[in-house]
Every structure is written in C-alpha cells, then in structure tokens.
C-alpha cells in the first residue's frame, strides 16, 4: 500500500522531530510507519533522520544544545536507523566506501569517534570500528585487510594525538591512495597538512562532508587512471 504525500510528510516530520527532541520512541514509530507505508527507506533516513541531525548540528553551533543532548539525539537516530537499514536499497550517493575508524592508543575517549561513525553508518559506508585505545599498527593492518578507502583517526587529548603522524606515515607508505582523516578537539587543519592527512574535522557534521568529498575525489582519481590504461 502506498501512502499519500501528506502522510509521507507526517512520517518524515515524526522522524526529524524525533531526532531533534531525542525521542527514541517517536523515531521507532516513524520508521515502522515508513516501512509499513511502503516508503523508500533511504528517503526516510535522509529526509527524516538526517534532516533532524542537521538541525541538531545547528542547535549545537548556536549553543542551544551541548554534548549530552547530541548523544541523546544520536540514540534516537539509531533507534530509527536500525529499523530502516535492512530495507535500504543500494545507497545512491554516487560513492560507496568502507572506512576504518578508531581512537588512537593512549586515548579512551570515543564520543567524537562514535558520532563520526554514525554519520558513516547513515551514509551507507561499511564501517570497521576498531574502538578506542587502538594500537597504531592495528590501523595499518586493518586498512590492508579490508582495503578501505578511508581511515579515520580520532583523539580527544593532546597527549594522545601525537600517535597520529606515525599511523599516517605507515599507511601512506603501504597504500598511498588511502585517504586519511583526523579528528578530535586538539586537531587542526595545520596539523592535518603537516602530517599528510587528507582531511580534518573538529566535529561530526564536518566529518561526513569531508568524508564524502574525499571518497568522490578518490573515485575520480581511479577513473582517470582506468582511462589511461
């Protein structure tokens, strides 16, 4: 049974507001209604859940929301996403990627990393989450094992950020085409440039934009190479 436009809008609003108001039940309900009504799951994710998260990002920038609220919004988003994901067709983002993500050794903070991971989950990336306090070599091994196009390194403490250049160097040495993003409060564009990282994000919403930009760029490089051959 297909639903009409008015009902569709109602469902999308429910998903969006559910995320903004960190209402897990509303998100679950909205997701079930979307599936039951034969809505496209991708549309429900992007025009519902992600639209809500975008608004949350704005509220965060305006300092109306702080980290506790964002964490609760993320829980609500996942409540809807878990229901919608199995019904997703191949994502039509123009890119499809896999990513290795983790917090570097010496750092046990993973809130930022988890928010970035959420954005990759939403975008349909295959995420290899190494967790936190991850030995540097593990990033290198996992990238080789999974042939991921992207590696994301996170650190919240200045004291643990220092492991990053070593990982970047090792991965680039073995696989120069792999793109590397660094993120976390103490990182900066200057450090990313200096250490040879391809992207940098101080927060989760920037990270997704950066990530999609980077994978598209990689795809272009590969296409060009194919044409030459």
């Amino acid at each position: 049974m297909m639903i009409d436009e008015a009902k569709k809008k109602e469902i999308l609003d429910k998903l969006k507001n559910g995320v903004i108001q960190y209402d897990e039940d509303a998100c679950k309900e909205g997701a079930q209604e979307a599936i039951g009504g034969g809505m496209d799951a991708n549309e429900a994710i992007f025009d519902g859940l992600v639209a809500g998260m975008e608004e949350v990002g704005r509220l965060f920038e305006a300092q109306e929301y702080f980290v506790p609220e964002i964490l609760m919004c993320a829980d609500a988003l996942y409540a809807g996403l878990d229901i919608l994901k199995p019904h997703c067709k191949q994502m039509d983002l123009g890119v499809k990627g896999s990513v290795v993500i983790g917090t570097v050794e010496g750092d046990v903070h993973d809130i930022g990393k988890n928010l970035v991971k959420m954005m990759f989950d939403v975008a349909g990336f295959h995420v290899y989450d190494l967790g936190r306090d991850v030995p540097l070599d593990k990033f290198v091994e996992e990238q080789l094992r999974t042939d991921s196009e992207l590696v994301c390194l996170s650190a919240m403490m200045t004291t643990s950020m220092i492991g990053m250049p070593k990982v970047i160097e090792k991965i680039k040495e073995k696989n120069p085409e792999c793109l590397i993003m660094i993120g976390g409060a103490p990182t900066s564009k200057e450090l990313a440039d200096k250490w040879g990282a391809d992207g940098y994000a101080a927060d989760a919403s920037n990270a997704l934009k950066e990530a999609i930009k980077m994978v598209s760029f990689l795809k272009k490089l590969r296409d060009e190479k194919m044409q030459k051959q």
């Binding site: 964490l71 609760m72 050794e105 010496g106 220092i162 409060a185 103490p186």
Partner: protein, 342 residues
Amino acid sequence: MNSRERVMKLFKGEQIDRVPCFSGMGNVTEEGIKQLGYKFADIHLDAKMMADTAASTYKLFGFESGVVPVDLCVEAEALGCEINVYPHAEGILYPTIKKKLVHNEAEMEHVKIPSDLASKGRIPLLREAIKLLKAAMGNEVAVGSYVLGPFTLAGQIMELNDLLKLSFKKADKVAKLLDLMADAITIVAKEYEKAGVDFITVREMGATTDVLSPRVFKSLILPPLQKIMKQLKNYSVLHICGKTNDIVTFMMEAGPTAISVEQKNDVAESRKKLGKDALIFGNYDPYNVLVSGDEELVRTTMRKCIDDGVSAVWPGCDIWPTVPPRNMAAMMDEVIRYGGKK
C-alpha cells in the same frame, strides 16, 4: 626574589617584579627524562623517578614550579579502577583507565570511598614524591600537585557517554555521585597538602563549555567544586579547558585562589570581567606553540599572554614532553625580559 618567593607572593596578592612562568599541571620534558636515563612509563610508578623528573624542568630551563604526579589516573586508581601505563610503548603514552568502577546507571549508587583511601593505589607514592621534590628544590621553587575535578573523575570511573547523558536525564543521581567524588578528591588533596605542596590545581577538564552548557556547569559542577575548594588549606588553582569565557565568573565563585584557562579563552575579555586583582593564569597552546611552533612564535605568544593580562604565564594543558629545549629556553627568556614591563 627567587622563583618560589615570586610564585608565593603572587598567590598572596603581593607585589612582584614580573609575571612568573610556571604551571600546576604536568610539565616534564623528554629532555629531562633522557638526561636522567629514565623511561616515561616507569616514572609513574617510582617516587624517586617521579620527583627527579618533576625537578628537571626547573633545573634545565628555570621553569618556575615542580609538579607531581605526571598522569591523570591517581584518584581513579585509588578508588579501585585499573590503569594501563603502557609499559612497552616506544614513545610517550600517558596512563589511561583500563577497567572502570561503574558499568551502568544502577551501579552509580553503590560507589563507596574506601575508608583507607589515603593508603590506596599510588597515594603513598605521591606523598613520598612530594617530599623528595620538596627536599630537592623546595626552597628555590614552588612545589605543586594536582587532582581531578569531580566531573572529570566521575568520567573516569564510569563511561563518559553515560555520565553526560545522565547529567541531563538524571541530574540528581549525577549530583550525588559528584558530591561523593568531591569528598574523595578532598581526601587526596589533603594528603598532598600534608606532604608539603605549596599549591594544588584542580583540573576539571571534562566540564568544559565545549561539552556542557554554562547552566549545567552552574547547577551540577559548581557545588562540588566549591565543596573541595572550601576544604583546601593551601593556595588552589581551578583549571578548565575549552572556551571558558562564559563561565569564568562561576570558576571564581568556586573559590580557588586563581583560575587557569587555555588558549580558547580570550584573556583580555576575562580580565575585564573579573577585574584587575583576579588571578588568571594562562593561556598559551602547549602543543601548537611550544612544541611545533618556532622560537619567534613562542616569543610573540608569551608577549600576547602578558599583554592580554595574565597574572602568570602558564600553559593551557600539560606541557607536552617532546617540547624542543630551544623553545623552553625562548619561553623563559621572553617572560623574564618582557614580564616585568606590564
């Protein structure tokens, strides 16, 4: 006036010849560790090594304080958490908490302070290290120690993720836990005072306004901080990371002798807000200026701190051990040259 006199007079609010250049947070250097022939992972577990290393930054560079401990896990370990000092790490890795005390909301209510907290974990080792440090250079330079703030400590004994959400959903439960953390922190701080430190820094890094709203800071974080400060006998410094301009008045209300802010704070603005007599320590970036900057950047940054009106030139966080010796020298030289002109 030697370094100790300068720092103590500053705390007392008396006239001094120039702003001091010191820190109440970690300030050991790789250069110091290397000259002593120690390994970073070992200095956390041996009182003599810890004291020697802490003294080396003054001895090598004239940096105007000696501070122990070096890591941030002392209180959580004494409360029963397991720590990892990364004994096999090649480079420098600071200890972290391996096993937490609280794993879910229900367990928050069962946290207890051991009756013999003062003899748990590395507290005895810290007492010994403070005594050794005092004996080695206590007449020349101020000896400090630090404890975590209640929210930061709570974020170590349980998942920070849960703590943050609960501070919104179940503020009462979190307030109760923070009150208990304040008691534990006070016990530890008093042990350090008894061992002879000149000042104590309370590091409430976790409660930055990058994470929590000023409103939550005031209702949830301020009361336990006040509880700690009230019971400290010696000089105290309250450090909070991040964009602290909106909460500097609350930081003062907590009752420390001085506040410490990092590079994201606009000190000129804070000075205007708090008045000319408030002790504001800060606020250079210890990594992007002191480690990866050149001497010129170090010098201009020191002058900017002083021009903005800091009471003491002091880093925004731990001094990162790989700091190039020439930058440490440039920092001290610039503060000594310029720090009396204002």
